[in-house]
Symmetry: C2
Subunit: 420 residues, 2 copies
């Protein structure tokens, strides 16, 4: 049945789709941190950041259904839901960030942020990290080295901060950004923005050292550009230390982009920025996103914020994440396959090494081994050699322990097979 579904899927969906795992998982149900396949087997979800308040969250589903029955107005009508939600959302940011614009996906949010940055600065350049991913619209794919080798002529990719450099990671990153500004200038361009995924997920998950972004932000601002914080992955509490990743680095961005967990799976995304920026943009362009900020989107977004607050998920995420990283560090001490462990809250990267260096093949074997053992994770980073562990925020200590135990067993099995 699962094989037959795979065949039907290939006949229907475009070839740009990819499936996870050597042996793809055929999902039929989800609840909290658990996913169930067609045979009734359950998997611990240690990967999906979108259902951050849990798969099948009843409060979110109820809010969605109730609002869908009552009203789903768009933003060209006055309606309470979007204003209530907008106020609530802006209340979670520094006072200088006083305007919200809503979209449906992180790609749309980043695309809009780039349009706004160009309009506000009058410049066209964009500086990104070396293996950045910011989305799939034409313009944003061309700012995403992890997707394409053909960056936009206006884009410059700079080395991501190197966590091994400690206190020098920030200055070194800033030096790369300065070189990019200089190179843009040699081509008659100025930077409109430095856009950074705060946790640098596709660069291999780099949450530390804290403060490492400040120097680079100063460089881009001095050159007239904006600092755009892509919080699509890091935002809404996942890093366990406030709601936003840039808070950890002591920064207030010019523009913040939001997505993935914002609607727990309902397509909701947005841009939060200063009124002088939305005003410059709005003076020239209407921006109407039919579904962005609809009544249902707002009701769902509000239910997600309530779940995060009422269940104290940021604190839980910090505690469970710390315990998870302790367990992983302990594995790293015992297993040669495991190198550096990095993370903040429930966003954790674990480098997999073989033959003296990062190994994408070994990481993929660990990912597939975990899947076979009932735990779902993935791999990321320039060589796809970093395990990406990013579970729903409702992940508890018992789930963290199960993940560590299972990984221990999988690694032991791999070492045995290699020794055979």
């Amino acid at each position: 049945m699962t094989d037959a579904l795979d065949v039907r899927r290939r006949r229907v969906l475009g070839e740009s789709y990819r499936l996870f795992y050597r042996d793809p998982v055929h999902l039929v149900r989800g609840e909290g941190v658990w996913l169930y396949d067609a045979s009734g087997r359950r998997y611990l979800d240690a990967y999906n950041n979108v259902p951050s308040v849990g798969h099948g969250n009843p409060r979110v589903a109820a809010a969605m259904a109730e609002q869908a029955r009552r009203l789903n107005a768009h933003t060209r009508y006055l309606s309470d839901e979007i204003v209530d939600y907008g106020e609530r959302l802006l209340g979670l940011f520094d006072d200088s960030l006083d305007r919200a614009v809503f979209a449906c996906t992180g790609s749309e949010a980043n695309d809009l942020a780039y349009r706004m940055a160009r309009e506000f600065t009058g410049a066209a350049g964009a500086i990104v990290t070396a293996n950045a991913y910011h989305g799939v619209t034409g313009e944003i794919a061309a700012l995403s080295p992890s997707l394409t080798s053909e960056l936009a002529p206006t884009a410059r990719a700079v080395p991501a901060p190197d966590p091994r450099l400690g206190a020098q990671a920030g200055p070194r990153f800033a030096a790369g950004v300065r070189a990019a500004v200089d190179d843009l200038a040699r081509h008659g361009l100025r930077p409109a923005m430095l856009i950074v995924d705060t946790v640098m997920s596709s660069d291999g998950i780099i949450p530390d050292p804290v403060g490492m972004l400040a120097d680079a932000v100063r460089v881009v601002r001095d050159a007239g550009g904006l600092y755009v914080a892509d919080e699509v992955q890091a935002g809404f509490g996942r890093l366990g230390d406030g709601l936003w990743g840039f808070d950890r680095h002591g920064l207030v961005p010019d523009v913040v982009t939001l997505g993935k967990p914002m609607g727990n799976g309902y397509p909701l995304a947005g841009v939060v920025t200063r009124s002088e920026i939305t005003s410059a943009f709005g003076g020239r362009y209407r921006y109407f996103n039919t579904f962005g900020g609809s009544s249902v989107a707002a009701a769902v977004g509000s239910a997600v914020l309530s779940e995060i607050a009422d269940r104290d998920l940021v604190a839980s995420c910090r505690e469970v994440g710390a315990r998870l990283r302790d367990g992983l560090e302990e594995l790293a001490a015992r297993h040669d396959l495991i190198g550096d462990v990095r993370g903040a809250g429930l966003f954790v990267g674990v480098d997999v090494e073989a033959g003296g260096g990062p190994s994408g093949a070994a990481a993929q074997a660990v990912v597939d081994g975990l899947r076979d053992a009932g735990v779902l994770v993935s791999a990321t980073g320039p060589a796809s050699a970093t395990l990406k562990i990013r579970p729903p925020l409702v992940f508890g200590t018992e789930h963290a322990d199960l993940l560590v135990e299972t990984l221990d067993t999988v690694l032991a099995g791999m070492t045995e097979r290699t020794a055979d």
Copy 2:
């Protein structure tokens, strides 16, 4: 309360937002073709094409809630919902259109179509109609003359077909496309695509003459480009003659883009095309849209298709639309303010004239007059002088009659005031 909401809204939402109507409507509830404001007053919705199977549709809301409770998997896992929906959707197109890729908004669908067309053709040019609107991503906004005067260097805008030319409308449109192809060539460019909103909504609503697109499509194909049918507005039965606008014109597009009514308000959009095109694109690019084609999106999309089929909405749309246009023609004969009436099914444009020509100001007065009288429409076209009448497909004959009667009264009032 409504005024206070407007003030709060301005303090929260970006300045690129616009509200409908001189006196904005504060909506609190919707049901079928009716919308209700905060004072309890009801309005006949003769404008919103998104809730095509009705505001607050219970079947759609139930499908959404049930699936959100059960599972909301994304496309990197195997799951039944997206394959079932994909097969069902493709079953509604010519056999040559055998692949679907899902996104969340029409903007994303058009953005992806342009990326695919460039990759498949190896060309970069895009030909659009003179007042086209295709979306708000950076690349697509730059192909939307109705949004911006700064088109992309690779874009060429050509005059939309002129319905007054009758049988000559098609050849004249094709001549414009040929001139655009020639001009692209003078700049070292070739066309990747001709993209046309099948009902040319922002060009003033131009459904006829039937067949008017064929010559132009031949021209672009001869030059190596694709014909992209933007069915975001025309699709899913609205034109009352099959499900797709291009069917009326006897064409099979290379790429079809879908959106707005596809999920009755749930953010669901997609690209339907040939496997050779998705294969060329997929050979170079992954395309992962986190929320696009999720289990909930697929369940909602499927419920919408069931509603359209089970309630025979295409036939109803044809009949009610014909009656509506008859009524409007009758008004045109009696009111100097009304010029040409164009339409197919429940997509109707009514030109408003004053002082011997199209009048955006008079159209806006009619739109505001209707709003005050409890009927919601808008205006479109190059001079915003065309009433845009585009109600949910569940609009019945009694609603069509009410719309015509109310418009009659509003026009009479305007004529009286002018005569005073």
